[in-house]
């Protein structure tokens, strides 16, 4: 009886990671996104060591200087080096992004999983709240939250974090709804797993792929929204080198010194594109079926 089975040729199938890398390595846009995000993270981590000047110290003699060999991207209205400010700004925006997305992820997944798993009246209430949040255009929601809390670095994080909650909640809920009907979850029930373990060992690990994609895509939305809030004067306050605030500051001089507004804008643009490409690439490689 066992002789039949003692020679099980376990398929030398690729391990999940190597299959992932093979697909990832053939996806050009994902690689470009990966590269951009990588460079961005490098500046966010090592900004103070690579920036040529102090981002806060300017000299009025050098105000609105055009790009030169001394100041590669020129200087702003009080003579601060724009390149250094952009490099330092990478860290500021990254802290906002990472914290806000983490807030959105944790609260959103909690709501989505609880609603999706337990269903019924709990689900209905949670989803109505989410629907209300989704009914507002996200930027208005963020403005509303900041208006209520007052402007500032911390409040921008809270605002962009909270307005990310609905997206994560919806994805987590959809994922749990489809997973909880699967046989392996039924098998877990059959063997007596607790609700907490079913969620943490069976449902969440299998929801990782769509959540990862959403996390990456969300980064760019948060970056853009935080920049918009700062642009409107509701976000990070001067003199903190924040890209949106820099852009806002530069718009006054757009006719006489266009570089002051252009380069921060370009930085926002490139990083947003980078996260979007990476997110789309991850979606294609993590789960080809999700491709539209």
């Amino acid at each position: 009886m066992t002789d039949a089975s003692l020679s099980p040729a376990v398929r030398r199938h690729q391990r999940p990671m190597s299959a992932f890398w093979r697909r990832f390595s053939t996806n050009r846009s994902a690689q470009i996104g990966f590269l951009i995000v990588g460079v961005y993270l490098f500046f966010a981590a090592f900004g103070p060591w690579v920036a040529p000047y102090d981002p806060l110290a300017g000299s009025l003699r050098m105000r609105l200087a055009p790009p030169s060999t001394e100041f590669w991207l020129g200087t702003d209205d009080i003579g601060r080096d724009i390149l250094s400010r952009i490099i330092y700004g990478a860290r500021v925006s990254f802290i906002i992004m990472a914290t806000a997305v983490a807030i959105g992820l944790v609260i959103g997944v909690l709501i989505g999983v609880v609603g999706g798993y337990f269903g019924g009246i709990i689900d209905s209430i949670l989803m109505r709240i989410i629907d209300v949040m989704l009914a507002f255009p996200s930027i208005f929601l963020a403005i509303g939250i900041v208006a209520a809390l007052g402007p500032g670095f911390f409040n921008v994080i809270v605002a962009t974090g909270l307005f990310s909650v609905p997206q994560f909640a919806r994805i987590a809920r959809a994922s749990v709804l489809s997973l909880k009907e699967r046989e392996f979850v039924e098998a877990a029930h059959a063997s007596g797993e607790s609700t907490f373990n079913i969620i943490s060992l069976y449902l969440l690990p299998n929801s990782l792929a769509p959540l990862m994609v959403q996390t990456t895509l969300r980064m760019s939305t948060v970056l853009l929204t935080a920049a918009a809030l700062s642009f409107l004067g509701l976000g990070v306050q001067p003199p903190t080198p924040e890209w949106g605030a820099m852009l806002s500051n530069g718009r006054t001089y757009v006719m006489i010194a266009p570089h002051v507004a252009t380069y921060p804008g370009l930085a926002i643009f490139i990083v947003v594109i980078g996260f979007n490409l990476l997110g789309d690439g991850l979606r294609d490689t993590l789960d080809p079926r999700m491709k539209q």
């Binding site: 002789d3 039949a4 020679s7 099980p8 040729a9 398929r11 030398r12 093979r22 697909r23």
Partner: protein, 327 residues
Amino acid sequence: MSSQPLLSVRDLQTQFVSDGRVIKAVDGVSFDVRPGEILGIVGESGSGKSVTALSVMGLIPWPPGRVVGGSIMFEGEDLRAKTQAQMRRVRGAGIAMVFQEPRTAMNPVFRIGEQMTEVIMLHRKMSRAEASGEARSMLDRVHIAEPGRVMSAYPFELSGGMLQRVMIAMELALRPRLLIADEPTTALDVTIQAQILRLIRELHDEFDLTVLFITHDLGVIAQLCDRVMVMYAGAVVELSPVDALFHSPAHPYTRKLLAAVPSVVDTRNTLRSIAGDVPDLADLPPGCRFYDRCDLRQPECRLAIPDLRKVGEDHTARCVLPNAISP
């Protein structure tokens, strides 16, 4: 052997590309379908039986799949040389096909009658009224009790067994010379399967229909077919009249497969399983594909793929020692 084959496939090669690996789903398959016969193709999953049928129909989706070699001659014409537009004409009027899941082959938003009438008008150049009458009489032929009610129904309103009858009626309304049936009863319950098998047999007798019947079920083969082709890992291992296949199987795989089928009448009380698994189609061994699982393997089996050898009247097997095996 006397008459010209209706369909003649030679050295068919169909491959799929997946994650950078080339999967030889069908590798050098040759067979004839003779006019008026029911030829069965039997094999387990991954044997290439369905891919063979789809290759004949020109329905291999590229990417990821493609027919890379061989010839497919239908009524003397090479189907591989035909354009997509020409193939559309062959499908239907020349070769019709019914699938395992009739539901996916029907358009869910049109009534059964509309779909049948449309197809019949297109292929048989009939007026709408004539086509509608033809549809009704074909539904009657496949023993649908109330053709009128079925024609005004949407696909979701019918059961799987009923839809499969509708599919068969629709395909036969085009008067094809060859019907390819790909696991048409696999999704059905046994009592409904018995009805469909009886129907196919009846239509075969009545219309002198030639059928290529693909299944994983040896019981269905025994009940329905005249000749059988056994496939394993993308290749033909045995081709034989149905009686000889069941009563003097030559290839070790066929013999083991027969011994693994649980039956409701057999007196033998233990099943014999086949150890191991099917080889990886992207990484095939150079020799016989059954080598790893075969009890009778010889050193030479590992070196090259054995040829199909004649082992009896109209009976060939791809094994180096078919004659050494006593039935």
